[in-house]
């Protein structure tokens, strides 16, 4: 119990003191997970919408595979990226292993199925008559897509919130491909693991609290966008 109260106080202290190492770690967490989720959304939302709207052979199988990959353990995604980027792997010339870019890559792989899966569900839930109405009002193909996307805004932002939460709290992949290097690839979750390993529970709890605060701020912004104009 002592460690928990100590951790709470320490979290506040670190934030108020503007501890440069802690702020560097926070910024890296945000940068890595934010970029990974943004790029994942850029790819997965259009692709997910396409898969949801088009009926083609094997459609259900693909959706099933995407739903399954939503449960992909991050550490497996990490191992996959690790083996790709390793000096003995196919992407060795990029010399990306143990860099923040490698961490973005791993979290991107992890986030794509999550965003895509939720997008598919959201788009599938758009009532058929909305689509029909838009078509009967003379909407062209591009306009139709925009109508559907604005109808599904709540679902799409839920997809982003979910994948961001998964990414920023994830530790297996990010430690494997980033190496948890101080001042370079160490993020909040990696620090929590390190301090736990070192027996400094107070510090570990403090960084956990900071992670939650950070996630709360990001989610507040996203929820604001999600709920805006909805009545």
């Amino acid at each position: 119990m002592n460690s928990i109260t100590e951790g709470l106080w320490k979290a506040i202290e670190l934030l108020l003191r503007l501890d440069p190492e802690v702020f560097g770690i926070m910024f890296l967490s945000l940068r890595v997970s934010g970029t990974a989720v943004f790029l994942a959304a850029l790819l997965a939302i259009p692709l997910g919408a396409f898969i949801a709207l088009r009926e083609f052979k094997g459609n259900h199988l693909i959706i099933n595979i995407i739903y399954t990959l939503m449960g992909l353990p991050p550490v497996v995604a990490g191992l996959f990226v690790y083996l790709l980027l390793s000096s003995s792997g196919p992407l060795a010339p990029l010399s990306l292993l143990f860099t923040p870019t490698a961490m973005i890559f791993a979290q991107f792989i992890m986030a794509v199925p999550i965003v895509m899966g939720i997008t598919i569900s959201a788009v599938k839930a758009v009532p058929k008559d909305v689509v029909d109405t838009a078509i009967s009002l003379g909407a062209n193909r591009r306009q139709l897509v925009l109508v559907i996307l604005s109808e599904t805004r709540i679902g799409l932002i839920a997809a982003i919130i979910t994948s961001f939460g998964a990414a920023i709290s994830e530790v297996g992949a990010i430690m494997l491909v980033g190496g948890n290097i101080r001042f370079f690839t160490r993020v909040l979750t990696g620090s929590v693991v390190l301090y736990t390993r070192m027996g400094e529970y107070g510090m570990a709890i403090a960084l956990g609290v900071i992670l939650l605060i950070l996630a709360f701020i990001i989610n507040s912004v996203l929820t604001y966008i999600q709920m805006r104009d909805t009545t």
Partner: protein, 303 residues
């Protein structure tokens, strides 16, 4: 549909910023001059390397990027050519690494030691023993009577390898009835042993970090077998052309220099000395499993 125009412009701008900054960071990150050191959690978590490394970094204007993982993973990282130099403590794994040509010029740097920790009630009656093999035999006897549990790291780490070699020396095949494998790091294993009131083999550094949080105590220590020597090995550039071999050699020279050896001996945690430097003590190195210490010393000194 006009309303989307402004939003689209914003979206395009944000996308451009994120994509460009990602590319920019990629270029920045990969141009960073660095030496990758793969080492074990026990070395890193003690804080020793954070003490030693900054001086080297400022002297050579490079970053020493420390990957701290289990010995098995540290060696695997170097075998794939993903590290430039390794600092680990598992003689058999180190020799295998050198013998197949992944590494060369292995040299002894320092040692710390292992201790057997266990419940204060000490049902196996090993308190004060200095013969670790005898202690293991007593734990297994007590375990067979259902009164003791031994918790193993079970993760192929240096500590785990050491423990397995002691069981082998004692001629005991641990039985599942009283022998549990944690598959975790040292700290977690100590915590689990505390919950189970089990015996475990721990490195002293990690033990010192945890001892105030647990009710276990050190019961057996001081056996020569329990000394835990650390070797440093540059990755062989003939096997992995991408490694920064010159820098790796400079780093080893730095570790075995008289000044750094002094720093290692002066490093304290909770008021206790954790590591004893041995690089310049050839006879001790030979007894701790570095038969070529003298030759390697003169090789590094001539580089």
């Amino acid at each position: 549909m006009e309303v989307f125009k402004k939003q689209r412009t914003i979206a395009v701008i944000i996308t451009a910023i994120i994509v460009l900054s990602t590319i920019g960071w990629y270029v920045w990150d990969t141009n960073r001059e660095r030496l990758i050191l793969a080492t074990t959690t026990s070395t890193y978590d003690s804080g020793l390397l954070d003490e030693l490394v900054p001086k080297f970094e400022s002297q050579y204007h490079v970053y020493v990027d420390i990957i701290s993982v289990g010995t098995g993973q540290a060696i695997a990282t170097a075998e794939a050519g993903d590290a430039d130099v390794v600092l680990v403590h598992s003689k058999s794994a180190e020799l295998a690494f050198v013998n197949v040509g992944h590494g060369y010029h292995r040299i002894g740097v320092m040692y710390n030691d292992f201790v057997i920790v266990g419940p204060t009630t000490d049902p196996a009656n090993i308190r004060g023993l200095s013969n670790v093999t005898e202690a293991f035999i007593r734990i297994s006897n007590c375990g067979n009577q259902g009164e003791c549990v031994f918790l193993s790291r079970g993760d192929n780490s240096g500590t785990h390898n050491k423990e397995v070699s002691v069981w082998t020396d004692a001629g005991i095949e641990p039985s599942a009835d009283w022998y549990l494998e944690a598959g975790q790091g040292m700290g977690t294993t100590i915590q689990m042993a505390n919950e189970e009131q089990a015996y475990t083999l721990a490195d002293r550094g990690t033990w010192l970090s945890y001892k105030t949080d647990v009710t276990l105590e050190v019961l057996t220590e001081g056996d020569l077998i329990l000394l835990n020597p650390y070797g440093v090995i540059p990755v062989n550039p003939e096997k992995h052309s991408n490694v920064k071999n010159q820098l790796a050699i400079k780093f080893v020279q730095y570790l075995i220099s008289t000044e750094t050896q002094q720093m290692i001996g002066d490093f304290k945690k909770e008021g206790e000395v954790l590591f004893k430097p041995i690089a310049r003590d050839v006879s001790q190195c030979i007894s701790l499993g570095f038969p070529n210490q003298a030759q390697e010393l003169s090789w590094y000194d001539s580089q």
